[in-house]
Amino acid sequence: MRYRPGQRVRVAARPHEGHHRTPGYVKGKIGSVHRVHGPFTNPETRAYGTDGLPKQPLYLVGFAQHDVWPDYRGQGDDRIYVDLFEHWLDEAE
């Protein structure tokens, strides 16, 4: 597990044709690791008839709502949490 809780990460904005579980609305956004879920089978390969191994590290990442939605009108400290695999994350300053 490369990241630990509290660490700031940026979600890769790369295009990805096939099945993946990273929602478009967080691609390119910066959040912070809220929880380390541990290793899980990789849906990006398991969706195509394989066993999804090796397992990939999965994290719960929190984002400020106003960072995700430019015209967000809720409370300033509202957050949204998304499960993201490690290979979609880069360290952010």
Binding site: G18, H19, K27, A47
Partner: protein, 95 residues
């Protein structure tokens, strides 16, 4: 960036969200049971099921109900794997 038909979080819409509940029809309950049986037999896993749903043409995806999407995907995946012959279901249904 091009988004899949299913990847719609944050998409603008003026349509109200339909929050009404409805009784599940028998075919919907059977579809749920079928998918769970196929998973247990290692024929269709949840990631394949989702991939099959996401591969639906946009128009069909929009028209289909929740369990209609499941059925579409089951047919797609089982046909890929040769469990179903291409067109087998349509032939049996006389379509």
């Amino acid at each position: 960036m091009e988004r899949g038909v299913h990847d719609r979080g944050g998409s603008p819409t003026d349509a109200p969200i339909d929050r009404t509940e409805h009784e599940l029809a028998d075919w919907e309950l059977l579809t749920d049971a079928l998918v769970r049986a196929l998973d247990r037999r290692d024929l269709v896993n949840v990631d394949e099921l989702r991939r099959g749903i996401e591969s639906m043409p946009r128009g069909e995806y929009e028209r289909a109900s929740y369990y209609e999407r499941w059925l579409y995907s089951v047919e797609t995946i089982l046909t890929e794997k040769g469990v179903l012959a291409r067109g087998e279901l349509d032939a049996r249904l006389g379509a």
